[in-house]
């Protein structure tokens, strides 16, 4: 279920960009965290505004030379020096930045998964307008404080169920003047799951109390009372622990260890319809059950998740749905 990258329209620009990227990839090789953006892996080029600025300077230079106008020349040279400083500042804004951590969060199809990046700045000046992006995301600028860290969050829109692999993060900046853009690549394997979108109107399977093999998890029998509590009006006399009363410990009520919680098991094989529809239906059931705080289990493919509740359980179930049909295990 490896998704192909967003198809760039076959323009020469896109082709050139792909060339540059694969060249950088061959040059740098696979990275491992933390990735420090050293000088040799930071590239810099003028932006479109930068090229326009250069054209403007060229015109000013020609005018200054032609009319032997000293002030025009001074202004031109001043702005040219300014542009060079701008290049330096932009380059400096990126060099030395370190990518310390990368994590992903999964999400439903049609929503945005997240890519979380921790950026470390050891310099004594802040780094402003650091933009991170992957092939699948837009840039999102973040400021990294001096001798501090910042976290960038990238939303990755998920269009198809399954595993989404990313292998490259582009970190760039055009701070402060937008005339140049410095960028660098970090080649890291990343993966996130697109859960099937919760869709479907079918009713969930009926609740069952304590299903067959689930009792294995359960530790106490129904017949055994496990503790006592004080009598409250309305308690059935049959539950009163008369023996304790006789020993002078007061009126106590036997409390039974009860599995009585209701739970359901969502079984893929029992849901009719196409594969994706069935997965979406199950996803919807899981979301509903979780919202109500109910306990539920899952059976899909060869996998069975015993009934439980909580966000971890929910994620485990949704992961199983997302990876249905994917031969590779979740790493």
């Amino acid at each position: 279920m490896i998704r192909e990258r967003r198809q760039s329209k076959g323009t020469w620009r896109a082709q050139l960009r792909d060339r540059v990227r694969s060249w950088a990839r061959r040059r740098q090789g696979e990275d491992s965290l933390p990735v420090t953006l050293a000088t040799r892996r930071v590239y810099i080029l003028p932006t479109r505004a930068g090229f326009a600025f250069a054209a403007l300077l060229l015109l000013m230079l020609l005018a200054g030379l032609n009319y032997a106008n000293s002030i025009a020349l001074i202004v031109t040279f001043l702005l040219a020096g300014f542009a060079l400083i701008a290049m330096h500042l932009t380059h400096r804004n990126l060099v030395g930045l370190a990518l310390r951590g990368v994590a992903t969060t999964d999400a439903f199809v049609g929503e945005h998964g997240r890519l979380l990046l921790t950026l470390d700045n050891t310099a004594d000046t802040p780094r402003i307008g650091i933009e991170c992006e992957t092939d699948e995301t837009e840039r999102s600028p973040v400021d990294v404080p001096a001798t501090g860290s910042a976290r960038a969050e990238l939303g990755i829109s998920l269009a198809r169920r399954g595993r989404l692999r990313l292998d490259r993060i582009r970190i760039s900046t055009s701070f402060p003047f937008g005339l140049f853009r410095a960028w660098s690549y970090a080649h890291l394997p990343m993966e996130l799951l697109a859960w099937p979108a919760p869709r479907g109107r079918r009713d969930p399977p009926a609740e069952s109390t304590s299903g067959g093999q689930a009792t294995a998890v359960h530790r106490a029998g129904d017949e055994q009372w496990s503790s006592l509590r004080a009598f409250r009006s309305g308690d059935s006399p049959r539950q009163v622990a008369w023996a304790a009363y006789a020993r002078g410990r007061g009126l106590l009520v036997k409390v039974y260890e009860s599995p009585a919680a209701h739970h359901r098991t969502f079984d893929f094989d029992r849901v009719p319809g196409e594969v994706e529809q069935r997965l979406e239906q199950m996803s919807a059931w899981i979301v509903d059950a979780h919202a109500r705080g109910e306990s539920y289990g899952l059976r899909i493919g060869g996998e069975a998740l015993p009934p439980s509740s909580g966000s971890e359980h929910r994620e485990r179930c949704l992961d199983a749905l997302a990876l249905y049909g994917d031969p590779e295990p979740r790493p």
Binding site: A103, S210, T215, R229, Y256, S258, A261, P307, S309, E315
Partner: protein
């Protein structure tokens, strides 16, 4: 380095250690949590002495206590109380539930339905109970010691993550080591000791301790340390949501109580480190489904990443 007045907590700790064998750290944390006016969540398998700890705390601190065993059919009214019609007086009267006590042991809190849980959590937060239109203040001091079994899943409703931060600390006791286990086997139920022990403190004493904890000095350098710790959780990629400002406050409160227990009138980075795990771990939602696994390693990883101020 010692508080000017004789430290009443030493006696309390000694008594607790006599009842709870081989768990000095957990006992101190529990006591610090109460002195910091926080509620305590004990997460562990049954039989390691959760209830004993709560019982011992109540006894040693001289507090009135109630125990509620949470079950799936427990209703909010079972905890909070219920308005009953008094036929003789021809009007409704409020019959207070077990929550109206100084120390409430909420046993197996994950067995109750979410509705009941949230009624308890709300009362914990507000330290008062509203029934119909009347508000009843809970006693002062008021503590909730809740227990839950982390490995039990069938038919349970684990506390929602968003509500876990009502508890100042989450601790676990763990199995006793070989020596203490042998002592346990030899001497039988330690709870039997309680009736013969005199309470080391009283509710007034507890209130004084709480006030004293408020006076423990927190230096700017230490606040920076706490801030750096909290900030570092917000920057980690293995954490979905970092610690909230409320968690930061809780950390300072707990560290103050911990310093008081150590007999100091100022908070050290060591105090913050000691309470950081219990205060922070249940509030950190982790990414990548790395859930409950290995809290200790995770927490010490965070602590290692933040240098103490010099």
């Amino acid at each position: 380095m010692t508080a000017s007045t004789p430290n009443p907590t030493i006696g309390a700790l000694a008594d607790l250690d006599r009842v709870i064998l081989g768990k000095p750290q957990a006992v101190r944390l529990a006591l610090a949590c109460l002195i910091a006016r926080g509620h305590l969540l004990i997460e562990d398998v049954p039989g390691v002495g959760k209830t004993t700890l709560a019982h011992a705390l109540a006894h040693v601190l001289g507090l009135a206590w109630q125990r509620v065993q949470f079950t799936s059919d427990l209703l909010p009214a079972d905890i909070i109380g219920v308005s009953v019609f008094d036929a003789s007086r021809g009007e409704f009267s409020f019959r207070k539930g077990p929550i109206f006590t100084q120390l409430l042991l909420a046993d197996e809190v994950n067995r109750a339905s979410p509705k009941t849980q949230s009624a308890l959590l709300e009362a914990m937060e507000e330290r008062q109970v509203s029934v119909d239109v009347t508000t009843y203040r809970l006693p002062d001091p008021f503590f909730v010691v809740a227990t839950q079994n982390p490995f039990e899943q069938l038919g349970t409703f684990r506390l929602p993550e968003s509500q876990l931060d009502r508890f100042l600390m989450r601790i676990s006791l763990g199995y006793p080591d070989a020596q203490h286990e042998r002592a346990l086997l030899a001497e039988g139920d330690r709870r039997d000791l309680l009736p013969v022990m005199k309470p080391a403190l009283s509710p007034e004493g507890v209130r004084d301790l709480q006030a004293a904890a408020q006076r423990v000095h927190v230096a700017p350098a230490l606040l920076e340390y706490v801030q750096a710790l909290v900030a570092s959780t917000r920057q980690r990629t293995d954490v979905l949501l970092g610690l909230s400002p409320r968690a930061g406050q809780g950390l300072v409160r707990a560290a103050r109580a911990w310093a008081l227990l150590a007999g100091r009138d100022l908070v050290l980075p060591e105090d913050v480190q000691a309470v950081f795990g219990p205060v922070a771990s249940h509030r950190l939602e982790r990414t990548g489904g790395a859930g409950g696994a290995d809290h200790a390693a995770f927490v010490s990883g965070i602590l290692r990443g933040v240098p103490v101020p010099v």
